[in-house]
């Protein structure tokens, strides 16, 4: 029956749009399942995997070492001081949590909007979210002067009868980030259950079968299972959808609620959300492009996906460009000396390099995405994604450091200089992210088997293709 379908499909005249379809020609239920599950179960792990994993483990070692030293000595090992009391740790936090946003957008919003193409990239994008949020969540703790009592930011019944101070955006952050982490984790795991069952059924060795069997939670593929599963997915998608907008909005409140010139601005929530999705899609591409070429998945992650991600980056990048443009205007229009000074100082002061790097990486270079030749060309797109991801880190650095280093009283002005530990923890966290992601690719279904199968023409009524 499947074979019949397949033959029918392949004997059709190829439409002109063939190259940009969401699933390559000649794929069948069997081939999709085979391609995705073999990566974990049967195929030999590629050498590149071992190579990158070794490098990332080295970075994780550096991370553990520097964090141990941080806990031993205190946050003074970083470059922070008065007036720049927030530095790399907060920059990294905002950057990582922003990266996570694309995963949730793909898995939740695009699901509700019935964008079939997201089915082939949602799983690893969600994994990216989980690991990015995990890295992000560590930084506020590293940043504390007394990290061992971080839980005082959580409202819990205690003998001191003291609760957090709910007017502080940092407390809102705790709620935003923890909600986000929990919903993302549930969504990710729930989505994986049918595929884990597939792995269980296809596993050759007993302990592998047991391993996936436990994770699959007794999934039998009954129609009742599918019905509940679909309902739960939609509910979680509904829960996750507002989170895409709310989490980074709350993160931006960390800045807007403060009276620091350069932070105290109502444009920050949309600015941050757009920036988050922008950097997130950059990360999705940075992960997707090597993955599809290493594992030969060009038929499942097609040029169509690259094209769509490129378009989304272009859109969010333009929103960002708008906010960059409106900031000087608002400062000028406010007539506030301090605001105007910050805008001027950003562009021409000691951190002008950060400002112009931000503009180049986030606005000027990504304009290449207007051209389809850049959107569908994996290497070019990869290059732009790396540039954007770097630019987004520098942007957060610029927002934090260039605003703080020269605020109201000129007597307190001073420049921030990062230390070797600042860099060690940042690059260490990247290593942690990569290591986790590689383990995910090796041991879990990195694409959603059942959702990719939905994209096949014969799994849809009337045999139409998903565009």
């Amino acid at each position: 029956m499947i074979l019949e379908h397949r033959q029918r499909e392949s004997s059709r005249p190829l439409p002109a749009m063939q190259a940009t379809r969401v699933i390559g020609p000649g794929e069948s239920f069997r081939s999709v399942t085979e391609q995705i599950s073999s990566i974990v179960l049967t195929r030999k792990t590629p050498f590149v995997w071992y190579l990158i994993f070794a490098i990332s483990l080295l970075a994780v070692g550096m991370f553990l070492l520097s964090v141990s030293y941080l806990f031993y000595r205190g946050v003074g090992i970083f470059g922070i001081q008065i007036p720049v009391a927030w530095g790399f740790a907060i920059t990294n936090f905002v950057w990582w949590i922003g990266i996570g946003h694309a995963g949730t957008l793909i898995s939740a919003i695009l699901l509700l909007l019935n964008q079939g193409w997201r089915n082939s990239i949602n799983r690893f994008a969600e994994a990216m979210t989980i690991f990015a949020v995990m890295c992000a969540g560590l930084f506020p703790i590293f940043h504390l002067g007394r990290p061992w009592i971080f839980y005082w930011l959580v409202p819990y019944p205690n003998t001191m009868h003291v609760q957090p101070q709910f007017r502080s955006p940092l407390v809102w952050d705790v709620f935003a980030v923890s909600t986000y982490a929990i919903v993302s984790l549930l969504f990710w795991y729930l989505g994986m259950v049918p595929d884990l069952a597939t792995f269980r059924d296809r596993a050759q060795r007993k302990w592998v079968r047991k391993f996936y069997g436990v994770l699959a939670l007794g999934w039998r593929g009954a129609s009742r299972h599918w019905r509940w599963h679909q309902k739960a997915s939609l509910i979680l998608a509904g829960l996750a959808t507002p989170l895409v907008l709310s989490v980074h909005t709350v993160v931006s409140f960390d800045f807007t609620i403060a009276i620091v010139p350069g932070w105290h601005s109502t444009i920050f929530p949309p600015y941050f959300v757009a920036g988050a999705i922008y950097s997130g899609f950059a990360m999705v591409l940075i992960l997707a492009i090597p993955l599809r070429s290493i594992y030969g998945l060009q038929n499942l992650v097609t040029e169509r996906h690259l094209n769509n991600c490129g378009r989304l980056m272009l859109t969010t990048g333009l929103i960002l460009a708008y906010t960059y443009a409106i900031e000087p205007f608002t400062a000028w229009y406010s007539g506030d000396t301090f605001e105007m000074y910050v805008v001027h100082n950003r562009a021409f002061g000691p951190y002008a390099w950060a400002y112009w790097t931000t503009l180049s990486c986030n606005v000027f270079i990504p304009q290449l995405l207007w051209f389809k030749s850049f959107r569908v060309h994996p290497k070019r797109l990869f290059f732009i994604a790396v540039v954007v991801l770097y630019g987004m880190w520098i942007e957060r650095y610029m927002i934090i450091v260039s605003s703080l280093h020269r605020d109201f009283l000129t007597s307190s002005w001073a420049n921030f200089v990062a230390t070797v530990w600042d860099n060690a923890v940042l690059f260490g966290s990247i290593g942690l992210f990569v290591a986790c992601f590689l383990l995910f690719v090796r041991f879990l279904p990195m694409m959603s088997i059942y959702e990719v199968r939905e994209l096949l023409p014969f799994s849809r009524p009337g045999g139409g293709t998903v565009k």
Partner: protein, 391 residues
Amino acid sequence: MTKLTWDNAVLLSPATAQRLGLENQARVNLALRGRSVEASVWILPGQPDDSATINLGWGRWRSGRAANGAGFNAYKLRQSDSFWSDQGLDIKKIDRDFPLATTEMHQAMEGRDLVMEGTLSDFQSDPGFIKKKSKQPAAELSLYPDWKYDGHAWGMSIDLTRCVNCNACVIACQSENNIPAVGKEQVLARRTMHWLRIDTYYEGDRANPRAFFQPVPCMQCENAPCELVCPVQATNHSSDGLNDMVYNRCVGTRYCSNNCPYKVRRFNFLLFEDWVTESIKLQRNPDVTVRSRGVMEKCTYCVQRIREAEINAQVEDRALREGDIKTACQQSCPTEAIIFGDINEKGSRVARLKAQQLNYALLAELNTRPRTTYLAELRNPNPELQKDGAE
């Protein structure tokens, strides 16, 4: 004036330094009549051209761990026939720089009304001229009700005309409040712990500038920006209007410092206090908590003195009297520029000072409504002298 710590320096005027091709912190060799010493340059606006000022008493080698090796020994240049000044100093640049630690990196006001000032004639022609400059927003703008103070409401008035930048208040504060000395390395990293600092600004021609001094303790704001951003309620408004800092509740997010427009909050980035040396334990004020690493601290208006006086008054069954409480900075100020007291008490000295026309709040436009306010600086320049371009 230089705000230098841990080292002395060769003070040169901007023009002289430029002529010699020297910049701040340039390491130089000083040679005078056959004797020489290595030193580091600091450019001081207002220093007379073609002259160098050097402080004595530095460069010691047997004074314990704090003083050893700090600065350079200018006695080496001194000879018995010219004790205090001499001519013919030869300054030669050596390759490397020698870093100098200063507590104030930027000594210009950039056109901001930080130190308000005027001449006596300005004041006589319009006594309210400072009030007109101040941008204090109207009190009724806030949607929230004001704090109510039935008892005392502590406040401070600092007279900028009187301040002579002697730094006695800074040292008094440091010893009263167990404030750690952090060492040169940490000063270079901008982590000085002074709860009270004297901001020094130069205005006008760098060769002949006007200098302004402004002691800045915690402003104890009525609408304190630090209070609402602390996630753990470690900094709170007390019933008498102080911004209390609860050390053992602080987790060290440093958000309060970011949001403090006066940047008076100080953070224990590392373990700055010496908890080990026995002799230092006896040196400390037993009424003030010794802070550990990772907590924020700041000026408390010497809250330990306030509470002690309140308890004493209660024991003696009387009301607090004017002068019962003096903060450490006030006590040590030789010109009585700093006055502390109860602003709820109509006749108190601080209340009368705050009622003056010259009274202004630093950064009033932010509507923080500080308890510490300033009396603007009044000068009475001699018109004869001003003709020469000098002040």
